[in-house]
């Protein structure tokens, strides 16, 4: 039997689930875990460790174990995505007025169009000592872990819960799965219809790993007739010009899935699928285009539930 626990964290709705007979008390502890991680990693918390590190830009600083783990996760995503998924985009976002949680903003008044910020900053310029957890960022470098932090938190929560029972943690649509459920059953996950999120376009079944979806269907706004969204292409400093509305990726971990889905979205459908085939051939991708056509790679067929898994929209 699957027991679920819903809660708010990182300004999103989260859900933790375990598959076992009785409801375990550990489920009630999950929001506390996320609160601890969010207080360290969120730039929307004034006294967060992230804001403290950003305020000491140009000086070496020793960071916590949590911060170190997430920074390394961000570094891995940066390298695996050919530098397209980076935590160093804060200036572009702030320039656009995205200085509070999107849900708190009045999009029509607060957000402006993005301006090009010049050459993208290189994360490799940050001096990182993994042994002593010492971080030395050059002047002007500002970090924003964003989706990496949420994915890492969901991954950690799933690992902790899996000591009790098979677990799934949903971090606002990015999902970590610790392993198959009772009786070796896979977990069933719907792929949301971007035009009607209450409806699923199809079902996929996951035994272990992660699923993530990146999209321009949410957090988008019009400014002077130009459609803006929050996925920044670090090569230009502008919202990514892409034909992809949403990209869903199934990967060995939620952090890999989050990295790959965002990279595909930035590159566009054709280049994105080529990149995935070349760099991460084990991953599966399902893409909904702006035209509402759906395309996916061959790996995805192994995850679809049933032959009629997808309804064309």
């Amino acid at each position: 039997m699957i027991h679920k626990h819903y809660f708010e964290a990182f300004n999103c709705r989260m859900m933790a689930a375990v598959d076992m007979e009785g409801r375990p008390e550990i489920l009630d502890q999950v929001p506390g875990w996320f609160e601890e991680w969010e207080s360290a990693l969120s730039r929307f918390r004034q006294h967060s460790e992230l804001n403290a590190v950003n305020s000491t830009s140009g000086q070496p600083v020793r960071v916590s174990d949590i911060f170190a783990a997430v920074f390394e996760s961000a570094l891995n995503a940066y390298r695996a995505s050919d530098r397209l998924v980076t935590p160093l985009i804060l200036n572009a976002i702030l320039q656009a007025g995205y200085n509070r949680s999107f849900d708190l903003l009045n999009a029509g008044n607060s957000l402006q169009t993005f301006d090009v910020i010049g050459t993208a900053l290189d994360l490799e310029n940050i001096e990182w000592d993994a042994r002593f957890h010492t971080l030395h960022t050059p002047d002007g470098y500002q970090l924003d872990f964003g989706g990496v932090a949420k994915g890492w938190a969901a991954h950690q929560a799933a690992i902790r819960l899996s000591k009790i029972a098979p677990a799934l943690v949903d971090a606002a649509g990015d999902i970590a799965v610790s392993g198959p459920g009772q009786n070796d059953q896979p977990w069933l996950i719907g792929i949301a219809d971007p035009d009607n999120p209450d409806r699923n376009l199809g079902l996929i079944q996951i035994r272990k790993g992660g699923v993530a979806t990146s999209g321009t269907d949410r957090r988008r706004w019009l400014h002077n007739g130009v459609l803006n969204h929050h996925i920044i292409d670090p090569r230009s400093g502008l919202p990514a010009g892409t034909d992809v509305l949403t990209a869903t990726v199934v990967a060995p971990s939620i952090m890999n899935a989050e990295m790959a889905s965002k990279t595909i979205l930035i590159l566009g459908s054709e280049q994105g699928l080529l990149w995935l085939e070349k760099k991460h051939p084990q991953m599966a991708a399902f893409i909904i285009l702006e035209s509402r056509d759906c395309i996916w790679n061959a790996n995805m067929n192994t995850y679809f539930r049933g032959s009629n898994g997808i309804t064309k929209i």
């Binding site: 689930a17 649509g173 971007p194 999120p197 990146s214 999209g215």
Partner: protein
């Protein structure tokens, strides 16, 4: 006188023949006419109860009509119970859904 008497005798004979013929005809008529009538039910008289003889109720004539395809036909016994049929291949509800945030 004798001639008149013989004439009256002959007339009486003819009248008798006609009467007998009519009687026979009516008797046979009634005999054959009753063949088609359903047999009557005799209710044995009981003390203090008047004897009543009634005809058997006539059978109802039911005109056949076309029954719509979705009409339930109950053949007696207990009414059929509603059943939920899970067709092979129908998907259960997912645990959650992936979406952009």
């Amino acid at each position: 006188m004798n001639q008149k008497s013989r004439k009256n005798n002959w007339a009486d004979i003819k009248l008798l023949i006609v009467a007998a013929s009519l009687t026979a005809m009516l008797g046979l008529w009634n005999f054959f006419a009753l063949q088609g009538i359903k047999e009557k039910i005799d209710i044995t008289p009981s003390f203090g109860i008047q004897t009543v003889t009634v005809d058997q109720s006539p059978s109802k004539m039911i005109n056949p009509t076309l029954i719509p395809a979705d009409t339930k036909i109950l053949m007696g016994g207990s009414a059929p119970q509603e059943k939920i049929i899970v067709q092979p291949g129908s998907a259960p509800a997912p645990v959650t859904q992936t979406r952009s945030s």
